[in-house]
């Protein structure tokens, strides 16, 4: 215990003395939350749209006025033919066209069913999907409202000409992604580097000649980073609740537990890297390509996994961030509890145990 506390104290000195790195480690979550929450948002406001209303009745009028009064849309043009839609798109003056067929209200009244067509400019897929979603939700709203007045439900079928990524609001999905990224960076990259640094300096030899068990050396290295990660988790959650106004709908305890589980997985990966390399550069390179890129590409945070080709979808299953991202998404945004995310949690635990087993084994082999 005395040995262990000496080790942990020493690791804290290393971190606290290196002001620049510490500033980056603690400042990074703040910078990323702000960057992803505000600057890189998928949210689109005041998009110019055109409407081709072939029915011109009371129902379409109400819907159009609702759409134009929303803060997402500016109705730029009223069109009079299908040909015009294409022309306006080509000019690039609109992002979305809404087409009401003839007899819209009539269909609604007599068959309880009507159709709307949304045509979006898919050259910018993210904006396109966001806009179609906004429009759809306005139509759903209207549908619900008129249904309340009547006994039979009305359905307005929206048909999208282009269906892309259904990501709705920017910051909601960004928060879990940023959490995964920051934790991974702090834990994997920093642990890998700190162990390898001692190998480079030659101090690792001294530690190995001492009566310390290798496992103790390694766990002592991980403790400060685990603590740092908890600080980072708190920063991110506070920022997202109070600055981005993303609610924590599920249990906070569960969220923290899952985050610590993910942190441990990242630490295990960092240790595995440090046990397999001898230079800081290699360690950094492996952490970035082995963890950072897959986290961004294959976790579903930036690019939806459902849209990926099958091999990538299969590959994404071994990326811990994918599981963590979907857990946080479910717990934080959708308010899920453990009965819903137990499967993901088990997978994450499995990955962690595997990585830990591998790194301890690797460490021992290198000692022989």
């Amino acid at each position: 215990m005395r040995q262990f506390s000496s080790l942990v104290r020493k690791e804290f000195y290393h971190i606290l003395r290196d002001k620049r790195t510490m500033f980056i480690l603690l400042g990074m979550p703040i910078a990323q939350i702000i960057l992803f929450g505000f600057a890189l948002t998928n949210e689109v406001k005041n998009a110019r749209i055109a409407i081709f209303d072939q029915s011109k009745d009371i129902a379409t009028n109400t819907l159009i006025s609702q759409i134009s009064s929303s803060r997402y849309f500016d109705v730029e043009d009223n069109l009079h033919s299908y040909k015009e839609i294409e022309e306006t798109f080509r000019k690039g003056s609109i992002k979305l066209a809404i087409v009401f067929p003839e007899n819209f209200n009539n269909d609604l009244e007599h068959f309880n069913k009507a159709q709307v067509q949304l045509v979006a400019d898919a050259s910018d897929p993210n904006t396109a999907s966001a806009l179609s979603n906004y429009a759809t939700s306005i139509i759903r709203d209207y549908e619900k409202r008129i249904t309340n007045d009547r006994k039979l439900p009305y359905t307005i079928k929206t048909e999208m000409r282009m269906l892309y990524n259904p990501q709705l609001k920017g910051s909601y999905s960004m928060v879990p992604g940023v959490m995964a990224m920051v934790l991974m960076l702090v834990c994997t990259l920093m642990t890998a580097i700190t162990v390898v640094k001692e190998k480079e300096l030659g101090t690792m030899e001294i530690l190995l000649v001492s009566p310390l068990r290798p496992l103790k050396i390694i766990t002592a290295k991980a403790v400060p980073y685990l603590m740092l990660s908890i600080v980072n988790i708190a920063t991110i959650l506070l920022l997202s609740v109070f600055v981005l106004e993303v609610p924590i709908n599920g249990s906070l305890l569960l969220l923290v537990f899952e985050s610590i589980l993910f942190t441990l997985t990242c630490l295990a990966f960092g240790l595995l890297i440090s046990a397999s390399t001898d230079s800081q550069q290699t360690a950094m390179f492996i952490s970035l390509t082995g963890m950072f890129l897959p986290t961004i590409m294959l976790s579903g945070f930036m690019f939806p996994i459902e849209n990926m080709p099958l091999p990538l979808r299969i590959l994404s299953n071994i990326v811990p961030a994918k599981w963590y991202y979907s857990i946080v998404n479910a717990v934080m945004i959708k308010g899920a509890d453990l009965t819903i995310v137990w499967k993901e949690t088990l997978v994450l635990m499995g990955i962690m145990a595997f990585l830990l087993f591998l790194s301890i084994k690797k460490f021992k082999i290198r000692l022989a």
Partner: protein, 248 residues
């Protein structure tokens, strides 16, 4: 096993695949002796030393360090030895005191022991005023002396020094050797590898390794007589000329 011998090695061998790094070496080191372990780069010194420190398992042969078998009791060995490597082995971003405290702590020493002994060591090294300075800001010579003090801080029976004076100026080297003598006088056995032949003259006995084998083992005076040489340098050159292994 004779109790007077703190290190006892018989037929120790280490092979890496087809390469025999250490080839059937045997020697004994007495308590309080300064034992020089010489050889060109790649002669197998470091590998032999690593086996004695419990860092590496021998392929064949017998060896005991501080009375403990290197195969089965390497945890016990680690508790009873100090080690200082050719690379500078203190943490530059920790202060002098923090470094001492850390190394004493990993050997499980009590706070009281650490506090008392730190004062003594700092006084001996004339570092009392620098106690709270970062080690990175000290001159290299001071760092090396501090590293040696740290290596014997937990009062081990044996200290292994792997080229401890590399890159240090002659005056500091002289001071460093005075510290080694003092440690030996206090009953610590010193096992030292070196490149500097003038340093070899300071050792009680010397073994010279060539291509993984011990080619000569005696006191400096006897070695010079035997090889009809005026200095250890000459002895070494005569032996090293036989080497077939190149650098590393």
């Amino acid at each position: 096993m004779n109790n007077d011998y703190v290190i006892s090695v018989q037929g120790l061998t280490k092979r890496f695949g087809h390469f025999t790094a250490v080839d059937n070496i045997s020697f004994d080191v007495k308590r309080g002796e300064i034992f020089g372990f010489l050889g060109a780069n790649g002669a197998g010194k470091t590998t032999a030393m690593r086996m004695l420190c419990g860092l590496s398992k021998p392929t064949e042969g017998k060896a005991t360090v501080a009375g403990f078998d290197v195969y089965t009791k390497n945890e016990q060995i680690k508790k009873n030895i100090g080690y200082m490597s050719q690379k500078f082995s203190l943490y530059e971003d920790l202060t002098v005191k923090e470094n001492i405290r850390f190394y004493a702590g990993i050997y499980g020493k009590s706070d009281q022991f650490i506090r008392q002994k730190t004062e003594i060591v700092l006084q001996q090294l004339h570092l009392t005023n620098e106690a709270n300075k970062l080690v990175g800001s000290l001159p290299l010579g001071w760092k090396q002396k501090l590293a040696f003090s740290v290596a014997i801080f937990h009062e081990p029976g044996i200290v292994f020094l792997d080229e401890p004076t590399g890159g240090v100026d002659p005056v500091t080297r002289r001071e460093f050797w005075n510290m080694i003598y003092e440690a030996a006088a206090n009953g610590i056995t010193v096992f030292v590898t070196t490149h500097y032949m003038d340093e070899a003259e300071y050792c009680g006995r010397i073994s010279i390794m060539v291509d993984g084998k011990i080619e000569a083992l005696d006191t400096p005076t006897m070695l010079k007589q035997k090889f009809e040489a005026r200095s250890m340098d000459e002895v070494f050159l005569k032996l090293a000329r036989k080497a077939s292994r190149s650098d590393n």
